[in-house]
Amino acid sequence: MGARAIAGISLLAALIAWPGAARAQTKIGQYLDEAPLRTWNTAPFTLAAGLGRGGTSFTRAADPSAALSNPALLPLLPRVSAAVQGFAESASMAKAGPIGTGVFLTDGNVVASSTGLDFAGVAVRAGRWGFALSVCREESYLRPTAYYEESAPAGQNGYLLQWTQTGDLRIVNAAIGGILGHGFSVGLGVNEVFGSLRRSLVEQVTGPGGYEISDTVTQDFRGLFLNGGLLWSPSSRFRAAAVFRTPYARKAAGQSALDYRAPDGNTDIPIDASSKDTARQPLMLGLGGSYDLSPSLTLAVEASYFGWSAYSLDFFGEAQDRGFRNVVRVNAGLEFRQKIPLFGIDFDMPSRVGLIYDPQPVKDPASAYGDITVGTGLAAGRFRLDLAALLGREWGSGNGLIARRIAISLIFQL
């Protein structure tokens, strides 16, 4: 899972016009230090098929990622299915860490981008039961790398300032689902969370009498939560679902190394710290329905509640003031299925489109993304390829942030 950060940053020693009235305070906005890239509401993880229809995934799934969105779908999958997914994503931000807050001056929003694999999973069905084991990357903590350098000839002082932040959060999920009868099925998953975050700032005055300040914080995350769902299929055309994800304590083992070194003075002043912290993650509840408008066209609508007001974060022993608001995300999508003959083979080639209203939990400034998604696929025999893209624009912060995601998943099924 290689991550690549793109810096759209220039440090301007510019004269800035004096504004009429100074504003009240530093509003960092969505990208608090621990914020996931793109959106705070990362659950549930979906493969490209779900992403293409606006992220709707509670009532329809044709791959092992059903375990993450609604494990009650597992007994409806083929006898064996396996999937992997690759992704590319990017998100823009106006402020993050020292970027846009007075240290690195930017001439617009900056963008963090990464690519990699973010899902691998397998599901099997035996009679009325379905089982799945999968791993996904659900959150990324990537930020644009900020870098500034003034080189100097030997014997003179140069300057360097560099800031990076990387990290992600992964979930290993084991889930089971069973058909209860009368159109009902249920499912439950156990999720082991692990991940890390690393943030580093280096400031150097090079040359004679120079010094270096390095400030590095790393955290290793662990956590455990349950997810589950209920699926009701009263007719062949209609399905409804209710899903949940339990709140949980995300434990963080932290190390901080702040260091001042001035080689010409033989000076080395380390200030080290370690910590055991907790972030209380919110309850997530979802409701959704899907309806076959025709044998080839399905509409799905879902609402997901995130109890962010219960979110709390300790960071190196100190409670951080977050004061989040609860939010409800709304997803809606259409899937149109058709067969296309190519090279004498009949391919299934669905078309998908969707919309997402995705409010963020940060209160001030309150903001929300509006996302458009599109997707398609190609299936023949035992293999299916799904492709989806999301384009989101944020409003509320005044910064017009943009989020993009492309996912390609390959599914094998028997």
Partner: protein, 362 residues
């Protein structure tokens, strides 16, 4: 001089003996900033001091920073809940966010007074005869930014627009504010940006409002680094008409500091011996009230020895070397104190009745 030296000897011994006790009793363990105080750690420790001896220590909320943190003042005096007609001393720390040690010396001074009051007759005498006001963290927003984001941030966290942040709150006081562009800057991106108007910042207004309510007889504002004891003027390299007196006090303090750990703090006029500053705290307090006003630049002496960094284990010795100088200044203020009459014709209340009039220069 000799008499004072004799009086100080037991105080120094007490300071040395008590050093380990300080380290054990604080809430500063474990944070990103090591043994230094974060905003919340300071809040906890100040209220702990009040709780420890509520008869002589009381925490006051002097105002709110831009990001809604409290700017706390610790008042230490006998009968702390009431205003007495006594000598008053003001000790300030952390105008500049990255100068972490400048929080510690004022805080530890308050802690020392509270914890030594019952056992040290000299401390008891000084506390009984004075009101000592300690404001260890004038710039809490900036300090938190240095802990979480960028260690060498200096100013407060004012959003100046255009991606520029921060006012140098030690250029925002209203004496010769913006006198020239050498001692401060009108550029919002500058490290010495003076702000759009004198006292535009809530942090300086908090100090101003306290100062105007009281009748301080001396002020010390702690900074780092360079090891200096600076007195007005800062806005000019020309001496004040009381230059000899200020220099005399600075020399007395420097001698006492040197006697502890052997470190030299150079006494000098701020604008002549360091660099020009206009709108700083000391020019304002001196210009307004004519009281002894000092900026003490704490160790180290230069960037080769740490710049704005001090070893965690150096917090105690740096406090200890400053202790006798502070006690000397408190004692001197007590000795020179003449009880004043509070009446409607008090010049201070005529010329400076409140916040609006604070801009008057003289």
């Amino acid at each position: 001089m000799f008499r004072r030296a004799l009086v100080l000897a037991p105080l120094l011994a007490a300071a040395a003996l008590q050093a380990p006790v300080y380290a054990a009793a604080l809430s500063t363990e474990g944070g990103l900033n090591g043994a230094y105080h974060s905003y919340k750690e300071l809040e906890t420790d100040l209220f702990a001091l009040q709780q420890k001896n509520p008869a002589i220590a009381k925490v006051f909320d002097l105002g709110e920073s831009l990001e809604h943190r409290h700017i706390y003042g610790l008042k230490i005096s006998d009968n702390v809940a009431i205003e007495e007609n006594q000598a008053q001393i003001l000790i300030l720390g952390c105008h500049h966010a990255r100068e972490w040690i400048s929080v510690e010396v004022p805080f530890h001074f308050g802690k020392y007074l509270v914890e030594s009051y019952a056992t040290d007759p000299e401390v008891k005498r000084l506390v009984d005869q004075s009101e000592i006001w300690i404001v260890p963290m004038v710039n809490p927003d900036g300090l938190e930014y240095t802990i979480h984001t960028y260690r060498y941030w200096r100013k407060n966290r004012r959003d100046n627009g255009g991606g520029q942040f921060g006012v140098d709150i030690n250029r925002n006081y209203d004496y010769k504010w913006g006198f020239d562009n050498a001692g401060s800057s009108g550029d919002p991106g500058s490290e010495i940006y003076r702000g759009p108007a004198p006292f535009s910042e809530p942090e300086t207004r908090a100090v101003r409002d306290l100062f105007l309510k009281k009748s301080f007889g001396a002020v010390v504002s702690y900074h780092s680094f360079a090891q200096d004891i600076l007195y007005p003027w800062g806005y000019t390299d020309q001496p004040s008409d009381r230059d000899a007196e200020m220099q005399g006090i600075a020399v007395e303090m420097a001698n006492r500091i040197k006697a502890v750990n052997g470190r030299t703090y150079a006494p000098g006029q701020s604008g002549k011996d360091l660099y020009l500053t206009n709108g700083d705290a000391n020019d304002w307090t001196f210009g307004l009230s004519g009281i002894p006003s000092f900026t003490i630049e704490l160790p180290p002496i230069d960037e080769l020895l740490g710049g704005f960094f001090n070893r965690e284990e150096d917090i105690a010795p740096i406090f200890q070397e400053n202790l006798p100088a502070l006690l000397y200044l408190v004692d001197r203020t007590v000795q020179n104190f003449r009880p004043y009459l509070r009446n409607p014709f008090d010049l201070r209340s005529v010329f400076f009745p409140g916040a609006r009039a604070a801009g008057i220069l003289y």
